[in-house]
């Protein structure tokens, strides 16, 4: 079964037709990168996958998005339940004004989990999975704001992992970070795909090539090309894709 299966997706911001007939399938444990110039629709598409666009007035979607076979836009779907399955990491690290430990435990607590041992085990495991453990193990009770930007972003990833999502969405997760922190996030993505299916929006084409198995190129709301990353970056089918990845346009 496909982990993500978007079929004939059209999306509108009022009259503006932001996504045009997008069909995109993602297998389990794959990393998919969405690339394209600003305004091409890649972030809009990403946000459709955990219904973040629902929060914007005047938007409208047609088509369907299935996550592990379940239509996430079907009547009766609870968005809070969906977001447990489809976690999201944003461009700018957004830790809560709480301790490192409590940041990661937060998602578990709001989901009604109160078993202290379970929470502790899951927090430690998530921080380890986010490749942050060695750096924070001695200061779990310190404020998350004391961490560097790169560490904060990995903490946000740990927070997302704590609730055991099936899919992790990342919207330019390294764009606010220095090169070393960026490299750590990229290595982390490579490691995480063993356990999760990941979709990442990035403006950095080299990042897309380094971390992803498949790449989708969006332009003016259309998905121009979707293929294995190695194919996209060595011999794309479409001239438009080639022009974009070689920096000739966009």
């Amino acid at each position: 079964m496909l982990t993500i299966d978007a079929k004939n997706v059209d999306f509108y911001y009022s009259e503006f037709h932001a996504l045009k007939n997008i069909n995109l399938e993602v297998e389990k444990n794959k990393v998919v990168a969405l690339i394209g110039p600003s305004g091409c629709g890649k972030s809009t598409f990403l946000r459709l996958l955990n219904r973040m666009n629902d929060l914007i007035d005047g938007t409208r979607m047609t088509g369907s998005v299935l996550i592990e076979g379940k239509d996430i836009y079907a009547p009766g779907i609870r968005v809070d339940e969906l977001r447990k399955e489809v976690g999201m990491v944003f461009q700018k690290p957004n830790p809560f004004p709480k301790s490192i430990f409590e940041n990661v435990a937060y998602g578990l607590r709001v989901n009604g989990i109160s078993d202290k041992n379970f929470i502790e085990e899951r927090v430690v495991q998530s921080i380890k999975s986010a490749a942050l453990w060695d750096e924070v193990k001695d200061k779990l009770n310190k404020s998350a704001f004391a961490l560097s930007g790169g560490q904060q972003q990995r903490l946000c990833i740990a927070r997302t992992l704590a609730i055991s999502p099936k899919v992790v969405l990342m919207d330019e997760p390294a764009s606010a970070l220095d090169p070393i922190s960026t490299a750590k996030i990229e290595e982390l993505i490579y490691e995480l795909k063993k356990d999760y299916t990941i979709m990442i929006v990035t403006h950095n084409m080299q990042q897309a090539s380094r971390v992803s198995d498949k790449t989708a190129y969006f332009y003016l709301g259309e998905m121009i090309e979707y293929d294995d990353t190695i194919k996209i970056f060595t011999n794309p089918k479409e001239l438009s894709t080639q022009n974009y990845i070689t920096g000739r346009f966009g």
């Binding site: 490579y190 080299q206 090539s209 380094r210 990353t229 190695i230 970056f233 060595t234």
Partner: protein, 222 residues
Amino acid sequence: MRHLEQEINSLRQDIIEMWRMTISQVYNAGEAILSFDKDLAMQVSMRERKIDAFELKIDSECENIIALHQPVAIDLRLVLAVLKINSNLERIADFAYGISRILLANPSLILDAELITDSKLNSMIQQVNKMLAQGLEAFETEKPQIAAAIFSEDYQVDEINANVSRKIAEYIKKNPERAYECLQLMGVFRKLERIGDHCSNIAEEIFFFTDAKILKHTDKKL
């Protein structure tokens, strides 16, 4: 381990495998011609396609690493060096195949033992086998000083080759009825000499990889 490191390690293992296959091809082709062993020549001939396929695999790995990982510094030099070493190894294996074909295309070929000794065919074969092994050792251990020895050995190979024409010409004058087999033998020497040249090219690439030194078109004084 970083993703790129995994890819680089895998590439290293593959080029080492290509090297070992090529060494085996040259060794067997040499043994086949020295002992007129047609079965061994056939074995060399049969393995040629496997080497060609492996060359393509390594080329593709290099292309992928450059396209997906944008290697820099020593990683970039390794990938560029492997690309060229790969191409040189494939040419060397082609020459081994060519030697085996000489034997297979002339099943009744008999080379005069005295001429073989006099022309130093055995020494030439041993020399190129040694150069190939030294190249692999230099690459695996990242010790360019081992590769440096290849340059002087290539001069020795060139010297044997330079003397062969005269020796064979003299032999033909005395034994004109054996001119055809002498021409075949010349062909073997030419191929061995080219193998030596490719070993020298590989040694240059090892210096490029380890020390970022460009020795191409220089007198190789290190």
